[in-house]
Amino acid sequence: MDVVISGLLLGGAYALVAMGLNLQYGVARIMNLANGEILILGGLAAFWAFVSFGLSPLLTLVIVAPLAFIGSWAMYKLLLRPLVRRAKTRGQLEVDSILATFGISFFLVGVMVSLRAEYFTYSFLATPVHLLGTTVAANRLVAALIAAAIGGALYLWLNRSRPGMAVRAVAVSPEAAGLVGINVDRVSAFAFALGGAVTALGGCLISTFVTLDASSGVLFTMKALIIVIMGGVGDIRGAIIAALILGLVETAVASIIDPGLTLVAAYAIFLAVLLFRPQGLFGQGNA
């Protein structure tokens, strides 16, 4: 039971981060390898605000979201838009964007190391809470609940509102989206920025219970990638379930076998998915 509860709580935070990458990859067609660094920036902001001003990470969320949105939007407009313009095929854009965002990730790591070379250690809500017969840290529970709230709101917005529908339309077919009067460029930039904001929020939340440092972004990029591929690109429901599975497996392996094997477990799942269900858990093949 311990494993199930902590696994689901961890998976909740992962789900939010994967939603961010899903918006960037599924809609804007940018495989953003700097996704993890955006997450760490969110964590660094929460750490810095807490240590310097005693600001609760839950309040930092409100500041981080618009900043990450604007920052990601500028990153798309200035650095990625030229790649989108010149790419003749989707495959070419994918290769170009992987290389470009890989470079951006190093740049961001460098910036963060210069800001703070040590671990971002702080203690927030590190009190035990009894939940369904087991004990978890309050910060994990709060993080998972907020992640669920943000993810749920995003899901409803994407499925119920007209602008949300336009975002999904671009994910399904940019050409058809143009035909119904959707400005594909603008929606892509918006989705990329929104994805960055969601990822940074995930970073804020994760920093309350995981000790991050400037260079741990790549681990989260890999995890988000595993979740997005496992859930199926552009499939929000699939990503949520994949995130919970990853959280459960990581927690199970860490507590039952050895904490050092969590990454191995993550990659084992990734390999199994690529081998047996490359279209994702719920994917129906190519549209």
Binding site: A169, A176, G178, L179, V180, G181, A287
Partner: protein, 238 residues
């Protein structure tokens, strides 16, 4: 009124369309007949702002210039294209496809009326609102594609080979529906290989060969023209 003046489209060194001029008014069906590769699709895509090639010349709808505009701007001027292959959102539902059709600002006010119009035209879609489009038959998908285009409140509807892949019975139904759409006051520009059925419902027509307009006239005159009969109608009579 849609006015296309002297449009040329080239892909690299290859010019697919040479100085084509046509007009389409509201309340009429105009058909463009031509063989595969004659440049019909190039023309429609150029007008709709979706050409992959280099487009020269001018086109305007309601006195607003179209060439050089992105597809989303073209839709706002009152032109809707149903491309070959339909261009629908396959993994979204019928209802979502139709709602997205009303995305342009010009279509918002009349969304309800247009939806009623679409469901009257295609009653089958009424019970299928929740169905995922790509699980439907070809004929039903074509209904969704045309329905979605009507949802954007166009003055002129462009259709690229709508009968492609449909059974003879569905073809008949399709052409009957296009005539109904025309009767609501919309202009229809139709690119077709099915000359017999399209000339039967059209008001006027153009012939296009190797990127040139080689003939134009009323649908009746074209249908009676021996050269047209030989080139386009003979092949379909056995």
């Amino acid at each position: 009124m849609l006015e296309v003046q002297d449009i040329s489209v080239s892909y690299g060194l290859h010019e697919a369309l040479h100085g084509v001029s046509i007009t389409v008014d509201r309340g009429e069906i105009v058909v463009i007949l031509g063989a595969n590769g004659a440049g019909k699709s190039s023309l429609l895509r150029a007008i709709a702002g979706m050409s992959d090639g280099k487009v020269r010349g001018a086109a305007s709808l309601n006195a607003q210039a179209l060439i050089g505009q992105k597809p989303d701007k073209v839709v706002e001027t009152g032109l809707a294209l149903v491309p070959e292959g339909r261009g629908i959102f396959g993994t979204l539902s019928v209802g979502e496809n139709l709602t997205l059709g009303a995305y342009p600002a010009r279509a918002r006010a009349a969304e309800k009326d247009n939806l009623a119009k679409v469901l009257e035209l295609f009653p089958k879609l009424k019970d299928r609102r929740a169905q995922i489009v790509r699980t439907m038959s070809g004929g039903e998908q074509q209904m969704v594609a045309i329905g979605r285009a009507i949802m954007s409140s166009p003055d002129i509807l462009l259709l690229d080979e709508p009968s492609l892949g449909l059974s003879p019975i569905l073809c008949q139904e399709l052409f009957r529906n296009l005539a109904k759409i025309r009767d609501t006051g919309m202009g229809v520009l139709l690119v077709e290989q099915n000359a017999r059925q399209s000339l039967a419902i059209a008001d006027r027509g153009y012939l296009i060969e190797n990127g040139h307009i080689t003939g134009a006239g009323s649908a009746r005159d074209l249908a009676n023209d021996p050269a047209v009969q030989k080139a386009y109608l003979g092949a379909t009579s056995y």
